[in-house]
Amino acid sequence: MANPLQQFVIKPLIPLNIGGYDVSFTQSSLWMGLAVLSATLLMTLSMRSKSVVPNRWQNVTEMIYEFVAGMVHEALGHEGRKYFAFVFSVFMIVLMGNMLGMIPYSFTFTSHIVVTGTLALMVFLTATLVGIFRHGLHFFTLFLPAGLPVFLAPLIILIEIVSYLSRPISLSVRLFANMVAGHTMMKVFAGFSVMMAASSGLGMAGAVLPLLINTALVGLEILIAFIQAYVFAVLTCMYLKDAIELH
C-alpha cells in the first residue's frame, strides 16, 4: 500500500548543483511556475475582450478582483489602494497553489512549510518595513499599549513582542498544516478503497464506501483551499493595517 505521505516527497526533474547547493528544478518548482502562469493567463486572456457584459471567464476574473479589492478596502480603507497589488499577488499564488493541488497527479506546493514560511516571512517583513518607513522609530510604540502602568511595562512589552513574532509562524503553519492534513486524509481514504477492492466478497462491494467519503472530502478540500487563501490574504491585510494605522 502506498504511503499517504509519499505524495509530499520532492522529486527533482532537472538536477542542478550550484556552489554546493542543491538548486534542482523540482516538481514543486514546476507547479509554482504553473500557478504563476495559470494566474497570469487567467487574468490577461479573460480580460482581453473587456466587454461591458462579461462572458464566463471575464466574470471569474472580475469576481476574484472585486473579492480581493473589497477585502483590502475593508481592512485598509482608501489608503489600502497602494497595497492592493501585493495582497492580490499573495492571494493568487496561494489560491492557485491550493487549487492546482486538487488536480489528480499534481503537486501541492503549499503543503511545504518552506514555501508557506517564505510567503509568511515576506508578508511579515513587508508589514514591518512599511510600519518602520511610515512611522520611523515611533513604530515600536506598537508594543507599548497606551495607558499602561509603568511597573507592568517590561512584562507586557515582552508578551507583545512574542505575540508579534508569532505571526509569521501561525500564518505559515496554518496553511501548511491544512494542506498536509487534507491531502493525507484523501490519500488514506483512497487507500482504504484500494485495499477493500483487492479483498474478496463483501469487502469488494464495500470499497465503494470510502470512495463516497472521498468524493465528499474532495469538495471539502476545495472549500478549504479557498478559505485558506482567503485567510492568508485577510491576515496580510490585518498586518499591513497595524503597520499603517498605528495611532
Binding site: E74, T141, L142, F143, L144, P145, A146, G147, L148, L152, L155, I156, L158, I159, E160, V162, S163, Y164, L165, S166, R167, I169, S170, V173, R174, A177, N178, I227, Q228, Y230, V231, V234, L235, M238, Y239, K241, D242, E245, H247
Partner: protein, 121 residues
C-alpha cells in the same frame, strides 16, 4: 393584460426595494460576518501554538546566552502562553491581532481599552 402589467410593476418595485436594501448594506453585514467567523475559528488553534513555540525558542536562546538553563525556558513558556491567549482574545473580540490595546473606533476607545487591560493583567 392590465392584470399582467400590474404584476410586472409590482415585481419591479420589489426588485428595486431589494436593491436599495443591498446598497444600504443590509445584506453586506451578514455575509461578511459569516465569513469572518469561519476564518476566526480556523485561526485560533495555530495562534496559541505559534506563540508558545516562539516563547520556547526565545527561552532556549536566552538560556544558551546567559547560561541560566531551565529558567529561561520556564519563564518564556509562560510568556508564550500569555501571548498565545492574547492572540486568541484579540482575534475573537474582533481586534484582529492589533498589537497594543487600540480598538479601531475612536468612540469606543476608552471603554474597550479599559476592559482589555483588566483581562490581560
Amino acid at each position: 393584460m392590465n392584470d399582467k402589467s400590474g404584476e410586472l410593476a409590482r415585481k419591479i418595485r420589489e426588485a428595486q426595494e431589494r436593491q436599495r436594501q443591498m446598497a444600504a448594506g443590509g445584506n453586506d453585514g451578514s455575509g461578511e460576518r459569516g465569513k469572518d467567523e469561519k476564518g476566526k475559528a480556523l485561526r485560533a488553534g495555530t495562534d496559541l501554538v505559534a506563540a508558545l513555540a516562539v516563547g520556547i525558542f526565545l527561552g532556549y536562546w536566552v538560556d544558551r546566552w546567559l547560561d541560566t538553563k531551565p529558567w529561561g525556558v520556564i519563564f518564556f513558556v509562560f510568556v508564550g502562553f500569555a501571548a498565545g491567549f492574547l492572540n486568541i482574545y484579540r482575534s475573537q473580540t474582533g481586534q484582529d491581532y492589533k498589537v497594543g490595546f487600540k480598538p479601531g473606533a475612536p468612540d469606543s476607545k476608552t471603554g474597550r481599552s479599559q476592559g482589555e487591560n483588566d483581562k490581560t493583567e
